[in-house]
Amino acid sequence: MSNQQEVEVSYDVSNEFFRLWLDEKMSYTCALYEGTDNLEEAQFKKHQWHAKAAHLDSSKRLLDIGCGWGADIDHQVKVSGVRSAVGITLSSAQLEECHRKEIPNAEFLLCDYRDYAPKEKFDAVISLCMMEHISTPDQVREGKHIEMYRDYFKKAWEWTNPGAYFGLQTILRNRVPRIKEDLQDINWLTYVIFPGGLSLRLEDIVKAVNPYWEIMEVQTRRVHYEKTCGEWLRRMRLHETHIRATYGDKVFDDYDRYLRTCVRGFQMHYQSLAMYSLKRID
């Protein structure tokens, strides 16, 4: 599992830095470009998809595991109307932004999911691209990852009431690159931008959800994530002078390489993205 220090490498460059190129709500996950080419509208559609996947309504109490800068909770409270929500994150910078947003009926905690103990059970779970932080590359190579993922699903099961649904999103590893430059870029991204973590293979999710959650729906969104990363890259480059002056050349160069690598990764089928609706096995 990525520890707090590793998570902070990925997410604590500066909230203002990420605000320059993410959408206005600061959703740092794949958007859903259905019927739109606009990032803000596509992120709204992503949150709507997960609202449906998690069967949200005004009676529900929602848990967001790996809540980021609070974008999804903001949507589910204000648009889906959930009665309350709790978001957990290991990033102190993200937590600060979540509190700054003053989202009604929402509580945010700086917490490792392995240490979390809810006071009250939840009716729904959403977790967007947090599972990638559960196993390190070494743990995956040693075959320990399935049990680690299964433990995560077990905890989500224990924290929820019967009848709960889970809206999940994960980056997928697919083809292994054979081109040296691509291998180098993906290796660099894995260890420098997202240390302590690794994307999942689809079959690992299928194995690990049992016996806790039933996969009701899976949609892969490879082209959507290619488009999302392309738009993040475009927006970041618009602020190149400012970023170099404020955060240094290394931050701009690293993030430019990282986002270019992501776009190529999705183009070359090295990576994909999946959205799932899971139903609690009661």
């Binding site: 590893r173 054979r178 040296k180 291998l183 180098q184």
Partner: protein, 82 residues
């Protein structure tokens, strides 16, 4: 190919991608983990690419995701190149 032939193939492929690697490695056998050798994961995958070319085969990505030690690679080569 028998195990020794496969080990020779792996060694010659590693010689191409990581010259001098063998000076750092005392043992090269089935139980040796790649992470304990003086080669990184990029070089391991470059070795895989060379072996695929020499054997005119392609390893399944889901199998490559699980290779941890030399023995895993030997099993994979036997499975595909048989």
């Amino acid at each position: 190919m028998n195990d020794n032939e496969i080990l020779t193939l792996m060694k010659s492929s590693l010689d191409q991608v990581a010259p001098g690697w063998s000076k750092e490695v005392k043992e090269f056998g089935p139980n040796v983990k790649f992470k304990d050798m003086a080669v990184d994961s990029v070089q391991i995958m470059e070795m895989v690419g060379i072996i695929e070319e020499k054997c005119s085969c392609q390893f399944a990505d889901e199998d490559l995701a699980q290779i941890n030690k030399i023995g895993d690679m030997i099993s994979l080569i036997k499975k595909v190149a048989a």
